[in-house]
């Protein structure tokens, strides 16, 4: 066995995969060749070190639980029959209504921005993320600043709801909310996937509810939820968090729709508005 043949057999020798005769020849070469012997010993030493120091660890039980929850959620979503969205017609009565109200929405946005002036935007670094929570907060600020053009202004839920017909691959939810006035809504395209936003007013505060296709978010390709949000959503049906400025975000799903509400109020108040809607259970 020469040095080249020895090198070709080092790994097999370390892993005890050489037959007895070849191993004997291999060891004979090692005994007489210091560089080859050092290579063999070096590889053995490295393998022993890795095997003794980096033993396999068990998967965290919380991770298994989270996977089970996500699968259950996925399974439930897959088994739900999503309603077929009707085709969009430009001469639809509510579309005409939308156009009629479009100009007045600019004034409403101006008022919203004034009332929520203390609610400062998220850091710019979040603005390019596909995290739906960051997107919702950024979209909230963009709406307040008038950067997302209003497309429908109406206090009538059915009017706002019909505006979205045929424009999204998920049903847009527009229920009444206790002590809140429906302002209107709009739609925007994020990386090829549609997000709807519905705006409510409660006194001087604005509540925005962003909606996206649940399946798209669960797939995590264009939009995604942080893992902790997915876990909490699967466990309790809701996920709540707070921005550094004290605004609350509540995420939940209903049928094929994933919703994220953003408002400059504590989460209990926001939850109360969402849960105690006029047409209870609509969310």
């Amino acid at each position: 066995m020469n040095c080249r043949e020895f090198q070709e057999n080092v790994t097999a020798a370390v892993d005890s995969r050489l037959d007895e005769n070849v191993m004997a020849v291999f060891l004979a070469h090692a005994a007489g060749c210091t560089p080859c012997r050092r290579d063999y010993e070096g590889e053995r030493h490295v393998v022993n070190l890795v095997r003794t120091r980096l033993r396999p660890v068990g998967v965290p039980p919380e991770l298994v639980a989270a996977i089970l929850d996500c699968i259950a959620l996925e399974d439930a979503a897959a088994s739900a029959v999503a309603p077929r969205a009707p085709s969009f017609r430009w001469n639809h009565v509510w579309t005409k209504t939308a156009v009629a109200f479009a100009l007045s929405f600019a004034a409403v946005v101006f008022l919203l921005a004034r009332n929520d002036a203390a609610f400062t935007p998220m850091p710019p670094s979040d603005q390019t993320g596909s995290d739906i929570i960051s997107q919702s907060v950024n979209a909230y600020h963009a709406a307040l600043k008038g950067e997302i053009p209003p497309q429908i202004v109406s206090e009538v839920p059915d009017c706002v709801k019909s505006f979205f017909n045929g424009k999204t691959e998920f049903p847009v939810l527009v229920p009444s909310m206790k002590e809140c006035t429906l302002v209107g809504g709009g739609i925007n395209d994020f990386r090829g996937t549609m997000m709807a936003h519905i705006v409510y007013k409660h006194g001087g505060q604005t509540i925005s509810v962003y909606q996206a296709c649940r399946e798209t978010v669960m797939k995590g390709e264009k939009l995604h939820l942080p893992r902790e949000a997915l876990e909490e959503l699967a466990r309790t049906g809701w996920y709540c968090c707070t921005t550094p400025e004290g605004a609350s975000i509540v995420v939940w799903t209903k049928g094929a729709t994933l919703c994220a509400a953003v408002a400059p109020m504590n989460r209990e108040h926001l939850m109360a508005h969402l849960v105690d809607g006029g047409d209870a259970g609509a969310w």
Binding site: Q7, V10, T11, A12, V14, D15, R17, T34, P35, R38, D39, E41, G42, E43, H45, V46, V47, L49, V50, R51, R53, L54, R55, P56, V57, G58, V59, P60, L63, V64, A66, I67, L68, C70, I71, A72, E74, D75, A76, A78, S79, V81, M218, K219, G220, R227, L230
Partner: protein, 190 residues
């Protein structure tokens, strides 16, 4: 429809979930980060569940899951995985040269001081390997898979597994030496 869905979920849990340790260890050593590893495992299982219908019952489910994870990893770290192919073999050639010189040097590699390295440093040395070499080192030396299993996982010949393992270990040895030198451990040897 719901009954079918429940059956699918049960079958998936029964057959796929028992391999979560294997996937988690691979993800942990590939990313060298617990949070990233957990995300990768979760993403892998979600994709596997989504494509469960395409899994052929009775085939090697561990290999199937592993390939989904590997693709997920590549998608996440595409830039890192693509580039080594060009430089890896140069690295290896250089390493062979370096090792050859080391061998002639009485103050060669620092194997005797490797034992003093922290586990995190050893994990860091593995994480520094190019992805293709890191994969075989993790699967063979940490997960304890046979060459045959690794070849099946990676869909490559046995000879490729063996050569990658050999080269991966060589690179790892050099990386460990660098860690040892950085910590000044070679002083103990002299």
């Amino acid at each position: 429809m719901k009954a079918q869905a429940g059956e699918k979920q049960r079958a998936f849990e029964r057959e796929a979930l028992p391999h979560s340790d294997l996937l988690y260890n691979y993800a942990l050593r590939m990313t060298n980060n617990v949070a990233d590893a957990e995300d990768l495992v979760q993403e892998t299982y979600l994709k596997a569940f989504r494509f469960w219908d395409s899994y052929q019952q009775g085939t090697n489910i561990r290999a199937w899951l592993f390939r989904i994870m590997k693709n997920s990893y590549i998608n996440r770290y595409r830039k890192e995985v693509r580039e080594p192919e060009k430089v890896v073999y140069d690295d290896v050639t250089n390493l062979y040269t370096r090792t050859g010189n080391d061998a002639a040097d009485p103050h060669d590699a620092h194997e005797s001081t490797f034992g003093s390295l922290l586990d995190d440093e050893i994990a860091g040395a593995i994480a520094s390997l190019p992805a293709e070499f890191r994969t075989v080192v993790i699967l063979c030396d940490i997960e304890g898979l046979t060459y045959e299993e690794v070849a099946d996982f990676m869909e490559c010949p046995l000879g490729t597994v063996r050569s990658r393992l050999h080269r991966g270990r060589k690179l790892l040895r050099a990386a460990l030496s660098a860690y040892a030198q950085a910590r000044g451990l070679e002083q103990h040897k002299q």
